[in-house]
């Protein structure tokens, strides 16, 4: 560690990981990337991507990946599910859910960082539920209620319709993260941080 400024700067390794994961979240929302059950049920996996970013990159890197994606969306790139993009998505009633992604990825990452060098599937699932569902709804529901003028309770009831799908995504995210981290140990935030620290102390 040479000096404080160097330590706080965005290392190129981090830069590359954040950029690729922002792109990955975008790609998971592209139509035709993934069709479960043939073409009958179009399932977008973008919230899955948000959970993955948090669980693999860790808290602030995961959140930064989501911020980068949202900045590009605001700039007009059609990177949200269904090819949506532009400033309109931030004026739409679901805008709060997009803001919730940032904090959801951070919360998921924070929890996974504390799960040690070999997080179990159960810990990963819990982290995805808390961050990817709990925190996201915590931001999404009040904003939607504010924009539409419906009461918080009614909005929450409407959002409950998405809950089963989101729970399935959390299970899937836990399974995928577990599989990824076994195949590529550096995908565990705690392991990656240790390695980065070791590289800096060299």
């Amino acid at each position: 560690m040479k000096d404080e400024g160097k330590q706080r700067r965005l290392a190129t390794q981090t830069l590359a990981r954040v950029a690729v994961f922002a792109a990955l979240i975008g790609v998971l929302g592209l139509p035709g990337t993934l069709n479960v059950f043939g073409n009958v049920v179009p399932i977008t996996l973008q919230t899955l991507g948000v959970m993955l970013a948090g669980a693999i990159l860790g808290s602030w890197r995961g959140a930064l990946a989501v911020v980068v994606l949202l900045v590009l969306v605001a700039a007009g790139l059609p990177l949200l599910a269904g090819g949506r993009g532009g400033l309109g998505v931030f004026a739409a009633p679901s805008a709060g859910f997009l803001a919730g992604w940032v904090f959801g990825a951070a919360a998921t990452g924070w929890l996974v960082e504390r799960a040690g060098r070999d997080p179990s599937a159960v810990r990963l699932f819990a982290a995805c539920v808390v961050g990817g569902i709990g925190v996201v709804y915590l931001f999404g529901i009040p904003v939607q209620s504010m924009i539409t003028g419906l009461s918080l309770g009614k909005t929450a009831l409407l959002s409950a319709g998405f809950l089963p799908g989101d729970l399935i995504k959390a299970v899937l995210a836990a399974v995928v993260v577990r599989g990824t981290q076994r195949a590529y140990p550096d995908a565990v935030p705690a392991v990656h941080q240790e390695r980065m620290r070791a590289a800096r102390g060299r």
Binding site: R8, R9, L10, A11, Q13, T14, L15, A16, R17, V18, A19, V20, F21, A22, A23, L24, G26, V27, L30, T33, L34, V36, F37, L48, L52, I56, V68, L69, V71, L72, A74, A75, G76, L77, P78, L79, G82, G85, G86, L87, G88, V89, F90, A91, A92, P93, I147, T148, G149, L150, K154, L172, V175, V176, V177, G179, T180, A183, Y184, A187
Partner: protein, 201 residues
Amino acid sequence: MNGLTGAYVPGSSVLHRLPAGVKLAGLALACTALVLLRTPLALAAAAVVAAALYALARVGVAAAWAQIRPVRWFAVALFVMQLIFAGLDGAISTTLRVVLAVALAGLVTLTTRTGAMMAALERCLSPARFVGLDPFRLSLLLSLTVRSVPVVAGLAARVREAQRARGVERSLRAFAVPLVVSSLRHADALGEALSARGLDD
């Protein structure tokens, strides 16, 4: 994946020529005004103004509709629910407010080049310097992401083909794990390459 061009419609109207930053500030003001307007009549006037702005920009009906289309079913559902819970006046003004905000934001997108918008947003993000992110790295991060989208989409296509060859097309796990692992490998190789070009110095 070659549709990564955004929704910009070329033109030379006043709205096209305004700087992106001014349009963003105007949009913020307009959205605040929409929240403050209470009566259906005032919002109807706002709708006329929005329509006039669209006419001024001459972006065409198809492009305008493409901006509003994603919220069309939501608007219908919202109108019906407000009609039941808040009466006709409330239903009209709430629905109009949502649709107009989306339409105005869409207008900024339609009349601003992606590059100009990204530059304006980068300026908005420049206070990030105080937490240790310098502007150069920030814009590198944005352009790396834009470049990574087709790369990751290509990785996804390759994993799909491999899945088909193995006969596990239906397994989400057999799709997502290799995709995430190969994305990470790509990211770490990219990081090494940037580092080798002296970006860490």
